[in-house]
Amino acid sequence: MSGPKTTEPVLDVRNLTATFGDGELTAVNDVSFTVGSGEVLGLVGESGSGKSVTLRSIIRLVPASGDVSGEVRWQGQNILAMRDAELRGVRGGQISMIFQEPMSALNPVLPVFTQIEENLKAHTDLDGNGRRARARELMDMVGIPDAARRLKEFPHQFSGGMRQRVMIAIALASNPRLLLADEPTTALDVTIQDQILKLILDLRDELSMSVVLVTHDLGVVAATCDRMAVMYAGRIVETGTVSEVFAQPNHAYTRGLLGSVPHAGTERSRLLSIDGTPPPLDRIPPGCAFNPRCEFATDACRATVPPLQDLSPGRSVACFNRDSVVAAGSPV
């Protein structure tokens, strides 16, 4: 795993908040993070923690009923304040996105070449021959053999892993600086997962782009990410480099997540699990949203929302009882 290449952030998300249904439901609450150049940031959390909405909010890809506020700084501009035409230039051209289900994210009636070409038409000045050559290059880049023939084929003629490669080829067609990946391997077989993750990392190095990876799989985070941000009920509860967080989780939720992952090579022990389920968005408990499920919870946790406090640059946690969590030791 290679570390972040520079410390200068390419993406700076500040106080991002996403609400739905006239502000009744808050899916993302005051989320701030940065992504450095060439860095892979993992957004981790259970289903419903707001990680996917956070990712989509970066390029304002939320349903019409949603409202996104805060600031997303990208190359000196606030994406959230951009006009539609500017936004279209950023989407797909500078920031691209890949999805969880590679089948449904590809258009079933258009051949693969046409779908790659659509991106090139929208974001480059290449002519017909140029687009054809670029499409072949992209197929080689994402590891699909026999590019010339397979470009003519339709998505249903590809296997799951190959479809995700096609999706990546489409997303990378115009050399984006940032790739948003929404659970890109969740729908794939474990062996294929590894191949796709490795491909994303290789392409990150090759194209020196940054990646924000949303996942619920800590194994994926450990294998691919430089830094991670743990989300719970729409808020970030802990951030840090992957090695820092794995070595010493400072938030009870992170500790619980890490404890629920089986580890090879260590002594056999009972797997921990976090009791209960994440709260629905319309019934988030007062105070720290995690307090009903937390073994360290105190009265303070039930009264006020713990602020996200910096421990060191890039390392922060939102927990009143972080000392007891640390004292309880690593769950691993």
Binding site: L61, R88, G92, M103, A122, E153, H156, Q157, A171
Partner: protein, 280 residues
């Protein structure tokens, strides 16, 4: 040898649905007859023969003659030209216009969709035929006015079908993917969503052409569509209605032509529905 080749390597079987083959054959023949009626018709459609009035089917006149001694077969054949035109011209404008409106409305949702819903309600409250007859009687009889009348009402059905389908498609991931790639709304609607959403409209179009022939001949029968002495099935049926008891062939053979052509369109529609079912 077992077939272990991946799906993409297997030669594509050319298995057209049977209804499509049958319906397509009927339609191709109909189009051929409509395009070159003189090749198929033994007589001129309005050649009077006062020596052969109201004659039953015979070798000289396979479908008999009418009260002016005109050959019924030749008139039925020449009527193909008008009735196939009706099938196409009465539906092509509603198909294109309705599909486009429906795609836009379905994608936009919100107020546009609510307003459109009211228009649909208003149109489907009236029986189609009554509405068309009302419009034709305002504009005056004739084929062009009939096309206008059908067009004014007919697009609503295409729009409704397409809007419903687009509403489904726009929620799928590939629509989001299109937005995430920075494509314009128009590009997403017409290049990405519509090809996935158009099948029901195309299938309905086939059925609608059958309905248009029925409607066209109904209006012809009522004297609001094609005008006599033009050879048109509805006009012919009207011509023969006073002789039904003695010379049934004047009305029955045009009726058979209507049924046969309608069957051709319907079968083609069924076959297309089967053929165009999206592969996943």
């Amino acid at each position: 040898m077992t077939d272990l080749a991946p799906p993409s390597e297997r030669p594509r079987r050319l298995a057209l649905p049977r209804p499509l083959i049958l319906g397509g054959t009927i339609l191709l023949l109909s189009i051929a007859v409509a395009t070159f009626p003189t090749v198929f018709a033994p007589y001129e459609p309005d050649a009077f023969d006062y020596n052969a009035l109201l004659q039953g089917p015979s070798m000289a006149h396979p479908m008999g003659t009418d009260n002016f001694g005109r050959d019924v077969l030749s008139r039925v054949i020449h009527a193909y030209t008008i009735d196939m035109q009706i099938a196409i011209f009465a539906t092509i404008f509603p198909f294109f216009f309705g599909t486009i409106i429906g795609a836009l409305v379905g994608y936009a949702g919100g107020i546009a969709e609510t307003l459109f819903g009211r228009v649909v309600d208003a149109v489907i409250t009236f029986p189609f035929l009554v509405l068309v007859i009302a419009i034709v009687s305002v504009l005056g009889p004739g084929l062009v006015n009939m096309y206008i009348a059908i067009g004014v009402v007919g697009w609503v059905f295409y729009a409704r079908i397409t809007a419903a389908e687009i509403k489904v498609q726009k929620r799928l991931d590939y629509a989001d993917a299109g937005r995430a790639m920075g494509y314009t709304h128009m590009r997403i609607i017409f290049r990405h969503l519509l090809p996935n959403a158009i099948t029901p409209a195309v299938v309905y179009w086939m059925t609608d052409m059958a309905l248009a022939i029925l409607l066209g001949s109904s209006l012809g029968y009522l004297g609001l569509g094609a005008q006599p002495p033009a050879a048109e099935w509805g006009v012919q049926i009207a011509d023969g209605k006073n002789f039904m008891a003695t010379a049934w062939w004047i009305s029955v053979f045009p009726g058979v032509a209507i049924v046969l052509t309608g069957l051709g369109f319907s079968l083609t529609g069924d076959g297309l529905a089967e053929l165009l079912r999206t592969k996943r």
